[in-house]
């Protein structure tokens, strides 16, 4: 039984990392303002939100599993305050930090209609800090660190997020490339084509 908690905590941590990767990639996809991954825009936004909420569920499982696991001996304190743990305080601290950041992002998102778009967006930028912190936590703290499959998972996640950020920073990310030509009223388009000849 005690082993079950331990395995559950480890597994749910990895699942949460994969989900957070999906969340970050879809968040960037949503920001691009175009249909992405074959989904209409509203669906990109919905899957982004739902994957994030699911990640929270797995993270709660991850933390509760470790709180009750006799081997991990996580103190409640460690769940909230980073970098003071007994075991690998720095790497564990990344996990706590990621949890705090994610809590801030999710809570402000759920309340965003009251907070207003500016405050919500400001906090949402923290996602770019939260994800790498979570990745580091898994690589440095997990009991599975150094296993080939955790490396493979982490590298795949890192590749996906790096590609998404590269796209985000590229010139073609531009606000709505799909609409660019539509910024010209259709009635005027033939005239423009004529003029550009």
């Amino acid at each position: 039984m005690t082993d079950a908690l331990w395995y559950f905590a480890r597994g749910s941590g990895v699942v949460a990392l994969v989900l957070l990767t999906v969340v970050v990639v879809l968040g960037i996809g949503a920001r691009s303002g175009r249909p992405a991954f074959g989904l209409p825009r509203f669906a990109v936004s919905l899957v982004h939100r739902n994957a994030a909420l699911l990640a929270v569920v797995f993270l709660v499982g991850h933390v509760i599993g470790l709180l009750f696991d006799p081997y991990a001996q996580l103190r409640f304190f460690d769940v909230v305050v980073p970098f003071v743990g007994n075991y690998r305080p720095v790497w564990q601290g990344f996990g706590t930090l990621g949890l705090d950041l994610l809590a801030a992002i999710v809570i402000t998102s759920l309340l965003r209609h009251r907070l207003g778009v500016r405050a919500w967006r400001a906090v949402h930028w923290l996602a770019y800090l939260c994800w790498p912190v979570a990745l580091l936590h898994g690589l440095g703290n997990g009991a599975d660190r150094g296993t080939w499959w955790l490396w493979a998972t982490s590298l795949t996640c890192a590749a996906a997020v790096t590609a998404a950020i590269g796209w985000r920073l590229s010139a073609t990310f531009d606000r709505f490339p799909a609409r660019a030509e539509r910024r010209v009223a259709p009635r005027l388009r033939p005239h423009l084509e004529e003029a550009s000849r």
Binding site: R31, G33, F42
Partner: protein, 71 residues
Amino acid sequence: MTRLHIDWTLCDGRGLCTELLEEMLAEDDWGFPLARDGSAEPAVPAPLENAAAHAVSRCPMLALRLVGRTS
């Protein structure tokens, strides 16, 4: 009667609302939502209230609001 308020100072023409509320909104040539009935603050028919609430919740700019039941 519930009405859909579009805050034009916030709207960025992302078009999520027109995907979700095709019955009420059409995209103009720049991707901004226009009420099909031509009004500035279109009335939401009862069967569409749910869809309108979804549109409000998905708008990434928080530009949409449901207002009033003052019929």
